[in-house]
């Protein structure tokens, strides 16, 4: 489930409010979105992917809130990172075009 929006990283662009398919967020008064309906989160990671500031953390557990803190996530290097893996963001190459995609397919087909 979505666990955290880092106030220090968030650039208040509201992308997460727009893109969340299950409408988990509300716009916050100070511009930083609020996790208003956490239990509606379907753990799809899409908000994280669209967040330009790597300010969000979706914990893998789909059933229960994990209760993480920003400090511990920072320390473990877990904040953000999905965008990088998928190759989204300026100067990155989309993973869709990676030569491994083809190589894997060629290997898997019996």
């Amino acid at each position: 489930m979505i666990e955290l929006i880092s106030e220090s990283r968030c650039v208040q662009c509201s992308r997460c409010v727009d893109v969340c398919p299950t409408n988990v967020f509300d716009k916050g008064e100070d511009g930083i979105p609020v996790i208003a309906r956490q239990s509606d989160c379907q753990t799809c990671f899409m908000c994280e992917l669209y967040c330009p500031a790597d300010a969000m953390y979706v914990s893998p557990d789909a059933e229960a809130a994990a209760g993480v803190t920003e400090e511990s996530l920072e320390a473990q290097g877990l904040l953000g990172g999905y965008r990088e893996k998928v190759g989204w963001g300026p100067g990155r190459k989309p993973v869709s075009a990676h030569e491994y995609m083809y190589q894997l397919a060629a290997r898997s087909i019996p």
């Binding site: 799809c44 990676h98 083809y102």
Partner: protein, 538 residues
């Protein structure tokens, strides 16, 4: 509240007119919108979530049934799942879908989708990464001049004596009502996974089936609705394909005999049913394939990385999450090649429509669904645009009324506001357990049908107030209706065929080589539909 007051409530919100209204913005809906627009239609697309991130494809990505137009390759493709699907597919439809998918995938290349290259430097087009694919589709739809309504679930269709002519819903971020009048409506709302949290499926609650049935359309293949995906217990990511590299274990490290990702899923289910936790480890992945796997499905590894687990070396607990009709094959019955339903003006595409035409009683994912979504979407887009144009001056002179079978009002729902949650929980108790849905028996199905009928009666006896509450109430109604069509069809098929498994009838019965149509709201009916002999492939 009187009907007139209710009409005014709807009228108070956003009102739009168009030629074609597309409900749902996944691959099927976006291809439908794009195609209708390219045929000169004014198109509105309404999605429950956000077109581009919502639905089963967006967070995932899919293998695609992309086959070169080579005689042998095509023949192999047609045969590949024909037997597995209980020989209910049709050769004509397979050919049309193979052709259209080939065409559409090549067009995606032209539109800028970054396909990887094979050794010869040619684009390799057998798969699509969901986030990239759906972001591109949204852009194309916008560029084509389509009006997109995000966070705008449809709650009911509008219709008159001429057929369907629009829909209404609510905009969940503002609470405002919306209404779109259109010559033709395409339902592309995806399947129903019963809020199981399988990756990306919680927006998929069977709404389109209910909308269509309320307008008088029927369904087909609803017994093929019991797909379960393997996922770690602590995660929503149901990517069963990678478990071909897994060995399954008990807690003490001994192997679960016969367990597997393809045919061995039932073995896992039986252990879980018996209360034994099953673990997996991807220890069959060859060393040189591991880095390829990590790139191939980036988000498969995300949960493991975050939980500090190396799935290649560590054991992790697994479960089977219901994917229902998303990776099943049942859905709204298609009446002709334009993806028309039984009701004039109403079209269906993607998981919302039956996929028996190309894969019979078995998909389980892997390429056919994605191919069906993009090709049926574009067939429906063409069909709906042509139909809307054929209406001519009639389009402006219709007396449309809401077709919902459950009352949605502006008045307060009073003390019933918790009812949808209770209904949803009650339906989940009928459809999620493996011993009810995966392993089916006469007694089990009958008992479930009785309880589901009770839930339906309770839903019908009350109203729900317009707004977020109405969305959940309609989801509860749609899930209940879907489960009733599923299980009544499951009862009628006294054999094991495709993904429909009857414990009491473990064999395929050649006397039941037909499809099952179903429909009805208060009274559910099921009827065999003979296959057209000349189109059934060998």
């Amino acid at each position: 509240m009187t009907i007139q007051e209710a009409e005014q409530t709807w009228a108070g919100g956003l009102r739009l007119e168009g030629d074609v209204l597309v409900i749902g913005g996944g691959p099927a809906g976006t291809w439908a919108a794009l195609t209708a627009a390219s045929h000169g239609a004014r198109v509105v697309l309404a999605d429950k979530g956000y077109c581009g991130t919502s639905g089963a494809t967006a967070p995932s990505g899919t293998g695609v049934w992309y086959v070169e137009p080579d005689r042998e390759a095509r023949e192999e493709a047609r045969q590949s799942r024909f037997g597995l699907g209980g020989r209910l597919a049709e050769e004509d439809w397979m050919n049309r879908v193979l052709d259209r998918t080939y065409e559409n995938m090549n067009r995606l290349s032209g539109f800028g989708y970054p396909f990887p290259k094979d050794e010869a430097g040619r684009p390799y087009r057998r798969g699509l990464q969901g986030p990239e694919y759906m972001r591109l589709m949204r852009r194309l739809v916008q560029k084509a001049g389509v009006t997109i309504l995000d966070h705008s679930p449809a709650l009911e269709l509008l219709g008159d004596a001429h057929g369907v002519g629009g829909a209404r819903g609510v905009r969940t971020q503002t609470g405002e009502a919306w209404e779109v009048r259109a010559g033709a409506v395409i339902i592309a709302t995806g399947g129903c996974a019963f809020l199981s949290k399988a990756l990306g499926t919680n927006v998929l609650t069977g709404d389109g089936y209910l909308l269509a049935a309320e307008a008088g359309a029927d369904l087909s293949g609803m017994e093929f609705s019991n797909a379960y995906g393997i996922s770690p217990v602590f995660s929503s990511v149901t990517k069963t394909a990678y478990y071909r590299y897994a060995t399954f274990y008990y807690e003490d490290g001994t192997e679960v005999e016969g367990a597997g990702s393809a045919r061995g899923r039932s073995v896992i289910a039986r252990q879980l049913l018996a209360g034994r936790q099953v673990y997996a480890r991807l220890d069959k992945a060859p060393e040189d394939v591991k880095p390829l796997l990590r790139v191939g499905q980036t988000n498969f590894f995300l949960p493991f990385d975050r939980a500090g687990i190396d799935p290649f070396t560590d054991l992790f607990p697994v479960t089977l999450r219901l994917e229902g009709t998303v990776r099943g094959t049942g859905g709204i019955r298609i009446a002709d090649e334009s993806c028309r339903t039984a009701v004039p003006g109403l079209y269906a595409a993607g998981d919302a429509a039956t996929r028996e035409l190309i894969c019979g009683g078995f998909t389980g994912g892997g390429s056919h669904n994605a191919a069906w979504a993009m090709s049926s979407g574009s067939f429906a887009g063409e069909g709906a645009a042509a139909y809307a144009h054929s209406l001519g001056p009639l389009a402006g002179r219709r007396e449309l009324k809401g077709l919902s079978s459950t009352t949605v009002t502006a008045a307060s729902a009073g003390d019933r506001s918790d009812r949808p949650k209770e209904h949803i929980r009650a339906v989940q108790e009928e459809v999620m357990p493996y011993d009810r849905n995966l392993f089916r028996t006469e007694a089990g199905l009958r008992a479930s049908v009785g309880r589901l009928d009770g839930i339906w009666r309770d839903i019908r006896s009350g109203a729900s107030s317009l707004g977020a509450h109405a969305v959940q109430a309609r989801e509860a109604a749609a899930m209940t209706a879907t489960a009733r069509w599923m299980y009544r069809s499951g009862l009628a098929r006294t054999e094991t065929r495709g993904m429909h498994k009857r414990e009491d009838y473990p064999e395929q019965d050649s006397g039941q080589h037909y499809r099952l149509r179903s429909g009805g709201l208060d009274e559910v009916w099921v009827q065999p539909e003979p296959l057209r002999k000349e189109v059934a492939a060998q």
